[in-house]
Subunit: 225 residues, 6 copies
């Protein structure tokens, strides 16, 4: 299976992607039944980015970023590059030159289960990166992986074309066929939040707003003064 | 013992709390004989907060934040909510809505040995949070824990009503009965620091200022040119 | 070997050090054949510092910072203090007073495989620190180590007088006898980067710019539409 | 998607499973292009077991083993139960009573990305277990997950009915549709090993047996006496 | 508070201790409401030991085992020495000579949140040890801690005189005043287990034996063929 | 510096090596001033081996074991192969065939800061291995490293020809020029141990045998009844 590049993938509809981006990771994750979240060790290089896009996937060998170069060619504007690694590795597989390159190709950001380098330069470019580490260690270009195959990245399964949403809370993957449903649920969910927020801000307790008192009592909670 | 909520707790005196807050974690920790510090994996969500308050404690099951809702009701203005977990867990037990709620109830901040979500929103609210992780993963409300019982949070024992001091250096717990003594020692300690700082800034060595040369020599230190 | 302080060390030439500082960690690391990089758990206390200087080394016992005080005396303006620890330890061996002291002695920064405290104060001073942790826990002055012996710090071998370069990407060590050669290679390497960056920014692929297509094909890469 | 149990799954053919079991994890992993391996933190409870079977999958909430009970009903003799968890968790979701139960239902073993308890008793029963931890902490039965859906377990994607091979080297997953091909490749591979082993045992170097000298020279390897 | 040795402590009744030992960690932990368990990184040096005894506690500085020597004097036959550390540390604070010493004083075993050395020799002596690491690194005797004060060891609060139970599943702490109640509950619990085991061994499902089908259905579990 | 193989190295004298082997890791580490110990994550594949030999070193890229093959050629009977890795990596760089090969060349064992596979087979061969992980993941032969250069392995500096001692307590490195001195100290140290052991076994306290009471009192230790 290694050594395969799939050029054309099915992408979700742009409007859905834009809407999911606006909703953000926590809301989208909740809306799709708490599935698809990457492990919390995936952290943004700089705070404040929020992106969504179609996943172009790459699977790399540890210490090797050859497939990122291969993936760059099949990226389309608005995509998010998702890089998985065959085993746990923190080497700096992605740096300023690659950031310049995939930005020029239209990528909205990169999510990589490896390390990132040139942290200062990429932060200044405001190019969005989520990675498991920052490391100056360079990588070789010696071992084939694949591009646009299904990968497991930071514990989440990603198919090419899935919608990847990333912000300060982490990274969540929405299967492309479920994107519109997730959007619908998330939007409904968000509609509620404003009202909830207002009530809580005025001092109403979650215990009352969510009606938890009865179930707590049934579960046996005892109060002592 | 699970399933108990203690409504009323003894809190330390407000003046002592305010003074401990001003002194900060490193000084207070030092002043009370280097006890009560939480493990360094507890990090602030955003840099620059410094708080102190009486601990209201909650013990949660992994992946479950029910007891945070229960604890919200017994919080009083100026308290700090301390959330321990029955086993290691990074799920996002605390998010923007809960932050809105406990802020409205007067909480000064939260210290939780679980994850925090809505990182961007809570940072913008400037609500102080110390947690072991940032994670968008939501939690259930299914398993009883307790509120206002003694808990071990990030390796530190916390009794309800203890003073919790937190800043960029981490989180320290001052047993309520020792708060005034800790304050006294810390204040004395701080009084010294200005003069020490001035001497060191002028180039005096710690070796001389602290009189270490003799003990180093006794211990057998050898100099080679 | 414990209990030895070497007062005088051979330092690299100042011009080379200044040039390596300007080039930064990733470029220098690359230029010297990807050697000498510290592990990526070494993180800057605050973002944006970039320093280089001659290493003065200290080896401390866990939970003990005595040798940092000893090392302060042998520091010369422009040096970087490198602190290794006999076993894994995160205690706050370095705080504001020590920062004031070694800054007054002319140190450009510190790299310590232990913890740092007074994070807010040191960040405000803009004194550069790279450490494995932030921890308020104070340390004792009870056990001898050594100063200016070769140490392994965060996985990298550091001889006294080696050039240490540190920035947001981490910390790299350049053996003093190789400093001018590393500089030469790094400078040559950097000269190339501007042109490469421009080509990539204009949409040229790394595949073409680096001429990878043939080797990928030889390795057996297959494209599927 | 949560809250679904699929009763009937497609299993690989028994002969292929038996053959893969005999070949073991390292050979099978190699044979299928180094894919499908779980992370190395998955360790056997006791050394010396080697099993293969069709995967019945369960996805549990952290601190909750309800779905293991549900999965027990849909197990068939010869199956291997694969338990994934919604977030990182080490609680003892599997103990002696469950081991007794699924053994009685014919399960050959269990692979769980959570903790195992009753380590002594299960080891004495010689029931094969691979887990991320040993922990006495019990779990609740409060939150729905699913049974026989695709899961990511210890970084590997597992579809129900995939062949799971486990031994002292860890756990590998063979997609059911690829089982016969993997078997074929693995068998061919193994046929070679005896001869290779004999040559190496007689002192032949891998350099010569694998013909590496030329490629090493091309890559620039230099020998110094 | 550092620098205190409490000579005399209240110990639980011997019969209760012996009974808790026979029941083992998992059963006792369950019986006392799933409290008091140490973190699962505490592992036995060798498999097969099961002990219980009254806790004599020691708090050590990292890299320092002075207080273990102090604690040895106040141990009584049948006690278990519990060693906590002021910060995370894996140094070999306990070796063959100390094992010989505290065995001679009647200690049944040691639980230490530091490292153990002389692994082969202590295993051969069959002296029971639970530790967070095996490490040959020796420790100094330079910094005071305390003996027989309450400590947090591997996340569990231990008061002197509490009953510590340890086996292949880990370590659990039973507050001395709750020992007889824990024993009672554990015994009742165990009485049930034989019958449960027999039913499960005969193929009865936990779903039926525990009557879970209704609650699963209420929670919304759906079966698909 | 990468891509260099040094064929001939200076080895310590055989008698010293044999004596260091008999003394074991903990004693040797202590005897040389507690230096040279590898990190405690280096664990033996099977318990009970104790070896010492001259280090032949190899530096590998992550996920690549090419240099192990190159090193096999320069091994001499009695040597220990020490494999460092350019970045943290757990892949199974060493398996049964390589074990067969280097055993045939006379190697006494291997110490590798990577993973080991074929755990069952190598354990059965009784070939001694210390590694950071067990992992079935195979490695490529694509990137040059070096053989017989100084390396940092698991935090310890190893020069080719240094004496490596390994047993159940871990791995320690004795610089070849210090081997006879370390041996002398270790032997003297060991001579004492028998008598100490006997005294401690008869109930004498370390407090008395080592004369600690006075220094404890000076340090301020207080006893409470």
């Amino acid at each position: 299976m290694m050594g395969t590049v799939v050029r054309n993938i099915h992408r979700a509809e742009g409007g859905a992607i834009a809407a999911l981006e606006r909703l953000g990771v926590a809301t989208v994750h909740e809306a799709q039944g708490r599935t698809g979240l990457m492990a919390p060790y995936m952290r943004p290089l700089w705070r404040g980015a929020r992106i969504a896009g179609s996943a172009v996937t790459a699977l790399c060998a540890p210490g090797d970023n050859w497939m990122i170069h291969v993936a760059a060619e099949v990226l389309k504007p608005g995509d998010v590059l998702v890089v998985a690694c065959m085993s746990e590795n923190t080497d700096g597989a992605f740096g300023e030159l690659l950031a310049t390159s995939i930005k020029a190709r239209g990528a909205k950001g990169i999510v990589l289960d490896m390390g990132c380098r040139d942290a200062a330069e990429i932060s200044e470019m405001k190019f969005p990166v989520w990675s498991r580490a920052i490391s100056a260690r360079g990588t070789v270009k010696a071992t084939l992986g694949s591009v646009n195959i299904p990968v497991v990245c930071a514990g989440a399964l990603v198919h090419p074309g899935d919608v990847v949403v990333a912000d300060d809370d982490g990274v969540v993957v929405v299967p492309s066929r479920l994107a519109s449903k997730a959007l619908e649920t998330a939007t409904a969910r968000e509609a509620n939040e404003g009202e909830k927020r207002a009530r809580l801000a005025s001092g109403t307790l979650g215990l009352d707003m969510y009606g938890m008192r009865e179930s707590l009592q049934k579960a046996g909670l005892k109060y002592i003064d």
